[in-house]
């Protein structure tokens, strides 16, 4: 039975994904959900051997020539949108924008869930993920407006 203080699988996965986002350098990305899943799947290939606990509950469905699908990444992005932590604009121009404080709030909230070694690794992973997410110029619509 789960007790009030216990961290669950879903929470650990959510915390890891949150920190990956928190350490991104920008707020605006052209990647859609499946490009996010693909970028994180690529990170798993690179880092899983050393940090298996970070990836243990993340799952992917791959198909050659197609972007990957991950139910956990999908859920994460949906709930960010629910919370207005992200907004989706014209996908031809910009797919996803994080709110002005989103990355900072995620960092403050979830850093304490990880060891300093894990945090160093997650920062490195975020840096490697950026190029796959496609940094977009900020368009006219802003979450802060």
């Amino acid at each position: 039975m789960i007790t009030a203080g216990e961290t669950t699988r879903a929470e650990k996965t959510f915390a890891f994904l949150s920190l990956l986002v928190a350490y991104l350098p920008e707020d605006h990305y052209t990647a859609d959900a499946s490009k996010w899943a693909t970028a994180i799947s690529d990170l798993r290939i690179m880092y899983e051997a050393v940090y298996p606990h970070l990836f243990r509950w993340l799952h992917f469905r791959h198909m050659p020539r197609a972007d990957s699908y991950s139910p956990e990444v999908s859920n994460f992005l949906s709930f960010l949108q629910f919370a207005d932590a992200t907004a989706v604009h014209n996908p031809g121009f910009m797919t996803m924008e994080f709110g002005p404080n989103t990355r900072q709030v995620l960092r403050e909230r979830f850093e304490r869930s990880f060891s300093s070694e894990d945090i160093g690794a997650i920062k490195e992973m975020s840096g490697k993920m950026v190029s796959k997410l496609g940094v977009s110029p900020k368009n006219g619509v802003s979450l802060s407006s």
Partner: protein, 510 residues
């Protein structure tokens, strides 16, 4: 290897179910009248396989658990759905055979039909509801299993639901393999299907959508793809039995099916450009069913009642009369069907009342409805940590539940289980958007559905705006109002501020 110990348990369970039973010899085709597809024609070997107790068990597992408490017609089972999937899969294969006779042979059609009949054999009682209980209990085991190499393929079972993993392991189990081989040998059929060459491992791979050779991708796509026979049948069937007026134009979609024919691409299932709006229709139907049926607040209340009973069973572990109800092994979830759950739990000391309440539809009611409009904007961000995937209960939910309970339990004299915070999962269309390919002509470059329509984005927006989480409590309105006040305070303590709409949507007010 973990997989070996899991297989051993599955083999024991399958062996116990099949026992010494031998498949029958069937003289001829059989025809089943189905309300969705009219006549479903079954080959002799298929009838023999359906005769296996493993398949007959599906007659006692309803497709949508307890949704019939809300939609009285929704009594349909995994058994009739399996027949329907076999029928639709055959229509799909037949449509492809016309264009690709060398690839879609009678043997391929037979394999695909067999996979369709067997695809749900791993479902536990109450279908997906039971599966979430199984995941809560044994999620770590199946997460680790998904990371293992199985039958020579690394991570073969990754990205699958637990029921799908169980289906794979059951179909490839020793006892079922034996039954299948005998059924095929005894019932060769009149057509030249080369049934003896059908291997259970290949059928099982179609069931989980993983092929050894990407040239066979379309076969798996028919059973476990982004627009497979499973979805087509359950959309049509669930709409029919719920009475919801949504259409899936299956015939039109099936007639646009092709196999990807670009060099260096997998031979995956694709559709021609004319199918675009039928795909949209299917995806919209999926969302409609989620919001109207699967996540209807009363359906969620029935699920909350089952979870409560499950918790009570766990508290009584070691003392129960019916040992499978202790769920000491993951296979215990397979040993129980929907009816047995009610009967057996009703025979356990101290649980009769709970079961009677559920059976007579005395359900908890809403005290608050949490949605995008009823959670105040700046605090919506804090709401995130509650709305995590449903297979585990986040600690934040436990804290709020405890906070509400502490302030109202004594005056109301209610049991701890009379209060439930319910956060359903969010549906998505990401897989369909990324992994359905449209190829306008044979020469055209295939394009993912999302390149033509931002389906994932607009369906996510729809789902997010329709999302409803609930605080459930006892039916008396004054008590629900008190619970609503207590819940508002408990959420406030977690920096989640609710608007008055949260109560209005629950139909209670000061």
């Amino acid at each position: 290897m973990l997989v070996d110990s899991v297989r051993e348990k599955i083999d024991t369970w399958v062996s116990g179910i099949i026992g010494a039973r031998l498949p029958p010899r069937i003289r001829d085709f059989k025809v089943v009248r189905d309300p969705i597809h009219d006549f479903i024609r079954l080959h002799p070997h298929e009838v023999a396989i359906l005769d296996c107790p493993l398949l007959q068990r599906l007659r006692r597992i309803r497709q949508n658990a307890l949704a019939y408490f809300v939609y009285p017609g929704m009594h349909h089972t995994r058994f009739e759905h399996s027949l329907g999937v076999a029928h639709v899969a055959d229509l799909m294969a037949s449509a492809l055979q016309e264009f690709y006779p060398n690839e879609v042979t009678p043997h391929v059609r037979a394999s695909v039909r067999l996979a369709a009949l067997l695809h749900d054999v791993g479902h536990v009682f109450f279908s997906h509801l039971g599966e979430t209980l199984l995941e809560e209990e044994y999620g770590d085991l199946f997460a680790d299993l998904a990371n293992e190499t199985v039958d020579g393929t690394p991570r073969l079972l990754e990205g699958l639901d637990i029921a799908e993993i169980l289906s794979y392991l059951i179909i490839t189990s020793g006892p079922f393999k034996g039954y299948l081989e005998q059924a095929l040998a005894l019932n060769p059929g009149r057509e030249n299907l080369r049934l003896a060459n059908i291997e259970s491992t290949e059928v099982a791979r179609l069931v989980i959508g993983k092929v050894r050779d990407e040239r066979d991708r379309f076969k798996a796509d028919i059973i476990h793809g982004s627009m497979d026979a499973d979805k087509i049948d359950y959309f049509m069937r669930d709409c029919h039995y719920s009475g919801i007026r949504a259409e899936v134009d299956a015939s039109r979609l099936i007639n646009t099916l092709r196999i990807l024919s670009s060099p260096d691409w997998p031979r995956a299932l694709t559709v021609s450009g004319t199918a675009l709006h039928h795909l949209e229709q299917i995806l919209m139907t999926k969302l409609l069913l989620y919001t109207s049926v699967y996540q209807h607040h009363k359906v969620r209340a029935t699920e909350a009642a089952v979870r409560t009973i499950y918790r009570k069973l766990r508290e009584r572990r070691g003392t129960l009369r019916h040992k499978p109800l202790e769920f000491a092994e993951f296979t215990d979830f397979l040993r129980i069907d929907d009816s047995q759950f009610f009967v057996w739990v009703g025979q356990e000391n101290g649980l009769e009342e709970l079961v009677n309440q559920l059976a007579s539809r005395q359900l908890l009611k809403r005290s608050l409805v949490l949605c995008r409009q009823s959670v105040d904007y700046p605090s919506r961000f804090n709401f995130l940590r509650f709305a995590l995937p449903a297979e585990t209960t986040p600690s934040s939910v436990r804290r709020v539940e405890q906070g509400i309970y502490d302030s109202i339990a004594a005056p109301h004299k209610v049991d701890r289980d009379s209060l439930v915070l319910d956060f359903p999962p969010l549906p998505d269309a990401d897989r369909e958007a990324a992994q359905i390919f449209i190829q306008a002509t044979k020469e055209a470059q295939p394009e993912a559905l999302k390149e033509l329509l931002p389906t994932d984005d607009w369906l996510r927006s729809y789902a997010v705006n329709k999302y409803r989480a609930h605080v459930f409590y006892v039916s008396e309105e004054d008590k629900r109002l008190a619970a609503a006040h207590a819940a508002e305070s408990a959420f406030q303590a977690e920096e989640v501020r609710l608007t008055p709409l949260a109560r209005t949507l629950a139909h209670i007010g000061d």
